[in-house]
Symmetry: C2
Subunit: 210 residues, 2 copies
Amino acid sequence: MARRTKEQAAETREQLLDAAERVFHAKGVARATLDDIARDAGMTRGAIYWHFKNKTDIFTAMCDRVTLPMQAMLDAQLADPGEDPLGQLASDGARILSLVASDPRTLRVFEIILFKTELSEVVAEVMAEEAERAATCRNQLATILRAAQQKGQIPAHVDCYLAAFALNGYLIGCIREWLELREFDLAQRAEWLMQTFYMGLRHAPPLDAA
Amino acid sequence: MARRTKEQAAETREQLLDAAERVFHAKGVARATLDDIARDAGMTRGAIYWHFKNKTDIFTAMCDRVTLPMQAMLDAQLADPGEDPLGQLASDGARILSLVASDPRTLRVFEIILFKTELSEVVAEVMAEEAERAATCRNQLATILRAAQQKGQIPAHVDCYLAAFALNGYLIGCIREWLELREFDLAQRAEWLMQTFYMGLRHAPPLDAA
DNA sequence: GTGTTTACAAACATACACGTATGTATCTAA
DNA sequence: TTAGATACATACGTGTATGTTTGTAAACAC
């Protein structure tokens, strides 16, 4: 095969990632073959081994393409809490839900991560950094919630870290359920789903109520 | 190998399922080998192929061992809504969360299902029946929520099917998050988590608020 | 007590996915 | 203009999982 220009090479790299999305989505990550991906992109495994180290490498590159922009979004939100932290957080969550529903790439990759990826001790490295990322996210959410608490939007007795945990679970859980279902327009219901959850936080009982 | 009594054979079947739990949990379903499972149980693949048709068969048998009792629990709850449907539902959810936290088998299998199983077009049959099971569960939840609505526990404008969707997502999401985290005692916080969510339902805004 | 079936173990045949090594045509820089 | 680097394609060796077949000793029926 002929050598190609830098731009063309970058293009094929993107095409390979696109193909990885399709193949991982169709067959699951473990069952997907590097040959499957290469053929889907109209190339051979040689191209893959040139651009990526192995299957794990192409997988993380594929995930980064959609998660990095989202993380940036959260960072920006954290940098400027604003006057209505809880309301901001609610519309942010709604925006994420809408994004999943509207952007095909985000949709596919979320489906892959939530349904078509097996975490095991074998891929411990990937798990470790993912766990760290999730912990950071939870802490950021907790920080924002504490800001909301200081403004009186949440009762003082609420454990904001636990609330961040619940919020994170709720978001992921809603996405997961909707991906399975697809019956209604998620973007349309997103605001209600988030508002309802925050109403729960506003009226949360004290911890020892259990 | 010698022939064994019926009881002994049933015992080895259980041992194989126990081994499948451990191996699936450790390596993920796709990466787990039938030989891995057999060796873990102190046998050979011959035993597996005697008791089960293939890997999918042993996987579903393993899942059924923990999901069937839980489904029975929900059925009983549906048969008798009681005087306080919402409160009952809350304590039921808390019970499920506590079960995940306290019963090792439930814990392992949930982890396998949520994190170590790749759904793909290849296992479409399994997916189809799982989707049907989930739909039934959602409908049952919606029915119970409507009963709560008629007793005035939930505002009349709430779409109970959407609420059931959110509840289901919340439960699964909380389990998922906790499995990743394991920082606190889930059984202790379960009641608060459920109560907080139901407080959101009680104070849910009208749908067109978005 | 004998024959048959059961409950596995052991051996085999097939297939497939991975990594790597090697080939090669083009681009680029000096 | 040419030497080397680049961007892939092709080919090969190896490991490994799967399904099946065959072997076999004990349980059970009669």
